[in-house]
């Protein structure tokens, strides 16, 4: 049995407290009135101001210029108000989907009758324990958005919809009630699968036959079918609809690759941590090697999907699609191209080597870069739509990451103490213990 070291527990609690304070400060310091934004804009650099001035000069008459200026201030006001919300949202969805990625990996390993991974099943079950608290908080954010506590989803604003015939055309799908029903359904089924597979897995430990194992096999197959559909819909709902004018058919699979590789990376890092503390004695470098191969392979797969989506839109240059990348390349140059280095170039160069894939510190280092890179990926998906060019990775963003990281560590390592780290009833466990590559 694993015991949660008090050091790690304290560490996670400190992260949560610091994160919570930072999040609170972020919300508190966001501008509350349009006048505040006026002063912020006035304080900003002159270059920006000159542009506004010249723009005003070209205007036909003062009233029009005033209206344009007022609109601009309003726009910035919304963006700045969104900032702490969006910072919270990115970290929240990132950690929540990361545990969903682990859940999908777990289900795939089960239906594929993988012989190498059963020794890691308890680690995966520990990580997916985060799904429940993670999805509760996430659902709460969606509900708060639905009751207009923020402007994350512009299509939820009846005023915006009234003036936008494109969004009106989508309101059969994009309406708050249906949106929340879908969210409850997806999160509910994922959590149910997680709950019952864990229950069966523990029941199998002391069972005579393999009935629970077989139950889990069937459940994993059904879950994967539900997952492929719900994953598509959830990525349209929770991420793509932030830009309600933009659409891409590849988007859902792209999002999947992003959180899937993050999930696998998390498995590798938690495994390496537990191993270093003397638990998981039967996990050897071959297991780490396999995980690192998946990190390597799925990183490339993510890049493949990124490139396919980007290149096709860049190549055809159709105005209604291309704005998505235009705004990102104009305002998010560093995060946009930086994530390619973190998510593709770095893992490609470091994890291609067989010997390196067996070295814990290399895998951990690559893992940190991959996780950070995919956080930036989610950041790039969410921020341009919610805060536009007002982005900055500052207090609200870092605090939100720290808070959810602390919560994640706390929940995951608490769950790991609840059951033996070797799921001994699994008929493939012996293979996994002797796995050598």
């Amino acid at each position: 049995m694993y015991t949660f070291s008090s050091k790690l527990k304290t560490f996670s609690l400190i992260l949560m407290v610091i994160g919570a304070i930072g999040i609170g400060v972020g919300f508190w310091s966001a501008p509350k009135t349009v006048e505040e934004v006026e002063t912020i804009l006035l304080e900003e650099s002159h270059g920006h101001h000159d542009q506004v001035a010249s723009h005003d000069a070209h205007a036909a008459h003062d009233a029009h210029a005033d209206a344009a200026h007022q609109e601009h201030v309003n726009h910035v006001f919304h963006q700045l108000q969104n900032k702490p919300w969006a910072a919270f949202y990115v970290a929240c969805i990132f950690f929540m989907l990361l545990s969903v990625g682990v859940l999908a990996f777990y289900a795939i390993q089960q239906v594929a009758l993988a012989g190498w991974s059963p020794i890691l099943f308890r680690v995966m079950e520990g990580i997916t324990a985060y799904l429940l608290p993670g999805s509760v908080i996430f659902l709460l954010v969606l509900v708060l958005s639905g009751v207009h506590m923020n402007h994350l989803f512009t299509w939820m604003d009846p005023e915006v919809v009234a003036n936008d015939h494109l969004i009106q055309g989508k309101s059969g799908y994009l309406n708050v009630a249906f949106f929340l029903i879908r969210a409850v359904l997806f999160l509910g089924v994922w959590n149910l699968y997680r709950f019952f597979s864990r229950k069966n897995s523990i029941a199998q430990d002391n069972a005579d036959g393999v009935t629970f194992y077989k139950k889990n096999f069937k459940m994993a197959a059904s879950f994967l079918v539900f997952f492929i559909v719900s994953e598509s819909l959830m990525s349209w709902d929770w991420i793509m609809s932030l830009d309600p004018h933009w659409y891409s058919t590849l988007f859902a699979w792209y999002v999947f690759a992003s959180f899937f590789v993050s999930g696998i990376t998390a498995i590798a890092m938690v495994t390496i941590y537990l191993k270093s503390k003397g638990y998981l004695e039967q996990v050897n470098t071959s297991h780490i090697h396999d995980l690192a191969k998946f990190m390597f392979g799925i990183s490339i797969f993510w890049t493949y999907l990124w490139f396919s989506q980007f290149m096709l839109i860049w190549y055809s240059d159709i105005p209604e699609e291309v704005t998505y990348f235009v705004t990102r390349i104009e305002h998010y140059k560093l995060p946009f191209f930086g994530m390619l280095v973190m998510n593709f170039v770095f893992p490609l160069l470091i994890l291609v080597n067989t010997d390196f894939k067996r070295l814990s510190w290399i895998v951990v280092m690559a893992g940190i870069v991959i996780l950070a890179g995919h956080y930036v990926d989610f950041y790039n998906m969410v921020m341009p739509a919610t805060v536009g060019d007002q982005w900055f990775i500052g207090l609200p963003e870092i605090s939100a990451i720290l808070f959810f990281l602390g919560l994640f560590i706390f929940v995951v390592f608490t769950a790991l103490t609840k059951a033996p780290l070797v799921a001994k009833g699994n008929p493939l466990m012996e293979e996994s213990k002797h796995f050598h590559y």
Partner: protein
């Protein structure tokens, strides 16, 4: 490479109490024996189809593309449909050898050789279409960036059609090398068993002097792994580039970002269906049922089911996003597919590709050889329709209603397609009589872990429950 322990729940992959020698004899038998009458009949039919197709190709090239059913609106139809169809089929071979190797799927060993042969032969068919669909095929070499006397007139690297040239030619060459490397130990086996000086000479040449030393095997394994690692992204990229032919355009119904992974999934889907069709026949006529077992067929069915579901998800995604986009051209493109003049093609595509593989959820059906055979053929027809629907239904009605038209294939269109099917079978039939159709060297590596006799023995000795291995 793998552990010595195997879980008792894994079913045997080689049945019939085989020894190493039995494997050799069984694999060599079709090569060492004589062709029977059926083989000659089938070969003659395939050859006749090939000759007919060849005639159609010569007629096209010498008379003009106008002999086809293309028109000013629909410049691509059967030619590119068949091209994508054949390339798609060619993907399962590399997938089975490379991807299944990376995932350490031992069951691939009985089927990889034939799947790779299928790859090579179908890519050769595919390769015909980019040439014969040219208006001036004799200038085809202009697509290559070679220094020339036109002031070094160069190609434009922005066209996916040029990427196709590189993709397909690289794919064919890498697949060929991968296949041939794997064949070396098996050709050596045939060489060592040869009784006539002629066959001795042939297989000596083909086996490149393979002597099976430890160092050779070590490098052989390494090369296979590296090639598998390279071939996997190659498979993805080749069909991706084929999909770029459509997806980079601005045609409603073509320009959609999901095409790259969706074409790849469709390629695996149709390729596995073709492997299934061929192997169900081959295991019977070449008496290889002990190696290509029902479990192999079931596993292939499962892959067909999974990729069929992925393709189905992509279809639904396209439909949903077409509605969601609010772009009326896009919406009309899909409305036209479902209810326009080609509704029947769309219906075939949907029902054959999305609905039919779902029956594989029933164990009774996926373990029935007859059902598997029928469904594998249905899938291949469905996947032909998928390409036809994407290409023709998007072209025949797009932006300007004044350019709307219909497509009617001619006998030349059909003749060339039949000809490539004939050519494919000519090659495949020749292959199955002269090549070791099962990678015997590989099968021998799993015989002791996955042979039914060894599994029984382990169970008797209760080895499975000991921790000492």
């Amino acid at each position: 490479m793998s552990s010595h322990y195997e879980a008792p729940i894994r079913k045997p992959l080689v049945v019939g109490n085989k020894s190493y020698h039995d494997v050799t004899v069984d694999v060599a038998k079709p090569v060492e024996g004589r062709a029977n009458k059926q083989w000659w009949i089938v070969f003659s039919i395939a050859f006749a189809a090939f000759l007919y197709g060849l005639g159609c190709m010569i007629y096209t090239v010498s008379t003009g593309i106008g002999t086809w059913g293309l028109n000013k609106t629909i410049g691509w139809a059967w030619d590119i449909t068949n091209f994508v169809w054949w390339v798609g089929i060619g993907h399962a071979g590399t997938l089975i050898s490379a991807v299944l190797l990376l995932f350490r799927q031992k069951w691939r060993m009985a089927i990889n050789r034939s799947a790779e042969a299928m790859t090579i032969f179908s890519v050769m068919q595919a390769g015909l279409f980019p040439i014969i669909h040219m208006g001036r095929p004799w200038l085809g070499y202009w697509v290559l960036p070679i220094p020339n006397q036109f002031g070094s007139l160069w190609v434009n690297f922005n066209s996916p059609l040029l990427w196709d040239v590189f993709a397909i030619s690289t794919y064919l060459s890498v697949s060929l090398v991968f296949w041939w490397t794997g064949l070396l130990p098996d050709f050596a086996m045939l060489r060592d068993r040869a009784v006539t000086p002629f066959t001795k000479r042939v297989y000596s040449t083909l086996s490149f002097g393979w002597s099976g030393r430890a160092k050779d095997w070590q490098r052989f394994e390494e090369v296979s792994l590296v090639l598998a690692g390279l071939a996997t992204p190659l498979v993805l990229s080749v069909h991706t580039i084929v999909s770029f032919d459509f997806a980079t355009s601005v045609i409603p119904g073509w320009h959609t970002t999901i095409l790259p992974p969706y074409f790849v999934a469709g390629a695996i889907f149709s390729g596995f269906a073709m492997v299934q069709t061929l192997l169900i026949i081959m295991r019977k006529v070449s008496q290889l049922e002990d190696y290509i077992t029902l479990q192999h067929i079931e596993l292939m069915n499962l892959i067909i089911m999974i990729t069929g579901s992925i393709v189905g998800t992509a279809y639904i995604t396209e439909l949903f996003i077409a509605w969601y986009s609010g772009v009326e051209y896009e919406q009309y493109a899909f409305l036209n597919r479902a209810t326009g003049p080609y509704w029947w093609a769309y219906l075939c595509m949907m029902s054959f590709n999305v609905v039919s593989p779902q029956v594989m959820w029933f164990k009774k059906i996926r373990t029935s050889i007859a059902a598997s055979f029928v469904i594998s053929i249905i899938v291949n027809i469905g996947m032909w329709f998928e390409r036809f629907v994407i290409i023709v239904s998007s072209l025949h009605r797009d932006y300007l209603p004044s350019s709307w038209t219909m497509f009617q294939p001619t006998f030349v269109d059909a003749g060339i397609y039949i000809g490539t099917i004939g050519f494919f079978f000519v090659l495949f039939l020749l292959y199955s009589r002269s090549f070791p159709v099962i990678a015997q060297a590989e099968v021998k590596t799993i015989l002791k872990s996955s042979g039914d006799n060894y599994k029984r023995e382990r169970e008797l000795n209760d080895h499975n429950h000991s921790d000492n291995h």
